[in-house]
Each structure stands twice: as C-alpha cells, then as structure tokens.
Amino acid sequence: DVKVTQSSRYLVKRTGEKVFLECVQDMDHENMFWYRQDPGLGLRLIYFSYDVKMKEKGDIPEGYSVSREKKERFSLILESASTNQTSMYLCASSFQSNEQFFGPGTRLTVL
C-alpha cells in the first residue's frame, strides 16, 4: 500500500522557534509538495520539488524554506515561526502529472 507519512499529527511551537516538518514517501516519486490548508482558503502550495536538491516556490513561499536531500524525504522549515503560520500542513507526492498522494497532515499551532 502506497504511503506518505508526516512526522507529527499535532505540533505546538512558540513564536520565533525554528520548526521542521518532515515528509517521507515510499513510492519512489519524483515530485513532492507542501501545502497549507486554512478555513475558507482551501489548499495553497508553499513549495514543491521535482527531483533531489531541486525546489520551486509555490504560491505562498514567504516565511518557509524546504530541503530535499534524498528522493523519499521532503522537509518544510519555518525559520522563525509566527502565529500566522498556525495551520494544517499537508505533504503530497506524485509521479509525473498523475494523482497526488497525500499524507495525513500536521496541525501546527504557533503560540
């Protein structure tokens, strides 16, 4: 069974902390994505990666960075967390332009 896993389901951090969200997929997919989901705004793409060490900005990259050192792992980094980054974060992977497989999500609260 294909699987995308995220390191935490729930996370509480303080303003100014550095936050790492990890995503791992076991499908050998080239493409990986990070979204945030907020009520009334739907899913918005933060960053995506189409190969190891390759990354492209999505629609809302400000305040975030990413790392993809290995094909199966894509990390989202909040360099200095702020309260407006409280959100549900969803990771996904895909092969070419086919369907995306999503992880269960990480609900991040920044106090």
Binding site: G42, L43, F48, Y50, E56, E99
Partner: protein
C-alpha cells in the same frame, strides 16, 4: 489566483440521493482531478479526467468535463453517510506537475 472553484460551497442531502458538485477554472488544463477529504485528514484522490476526455466513471462517481465552458462536475450517485466529506477539484496544467486546488465543497449526507 485560485483556479478550480467549486460550487456550491456546502451541500446537504439525504442518504440515497445524488450529489452534484461543480468546478470552474480559468485557464487551459492538461487534466482535472477530484479529491475527497474527511474531516481533519489528508486528501484522497478520486478520479482524473484528461482534457481530451468528456466523461469518466468510477463506481458511484461520474465526472464530466466541458473544456469550452471551462467547467467540470462530479456526480455521486446513491449517496451514503460515509460520503460525508469535503470535495476538491484540482487543475493540472503545464510541465511542472503542480495542481491548483479550489476551496472545496462540504458535502453532508444525512442518514
């Protein structure tokens, strides 16, 4: 800007009835995909329809695509309480495998 806007925002029906959700988009697409999200969870891919296809079926799901009107519809027949979820359409286009999601339709199926 958001592509793939769903209509209606919310839909409440009785078990056994059919549910129809619509999606409009603004620019050309390679494919259009529909996803389901149960409360607080990740998204699950339902069906993909390519730009040269007009209709596709999968079990109780029927998707149509009208590229002249830049719209798609998702029909769920004989709905069940377990179909209660948010449904998102996502536009796929270009060569970078990104999807652009709409804000979703919240479907409630009452037993």
């Amino acid at each position: 800007s958001q592509q793939g806007e769903e209509d209606p925002q919310a839909l409440s029906i009785q078990e056994g009835e059919n549910a129809t959700m619509n999606c409009s988009y603004k620019t050309s697409i390679n494919n259009l995909q529909w996803y389901r999200q149960n409360s607080g969870r990740g998204l699950v891919h339902l069906i993909l329809i390519r730009s040269n296809e007009r209709e596709k079926h999968s079990g109780r799901l029927r998707v149509t695509l009208d590229t002249s009107k830049k719209s798609s519809s998702l029909l769920i027949t004989a709905s069940r309480a377990a179909d209660t979820a948010s449904y998102f359409c996502a536009k796929g286009g270009g060569s970078n495998y990104k999807l652009t999601f709409g804000k979703g339709t919240l479907l409630t199926v009452n037993p």
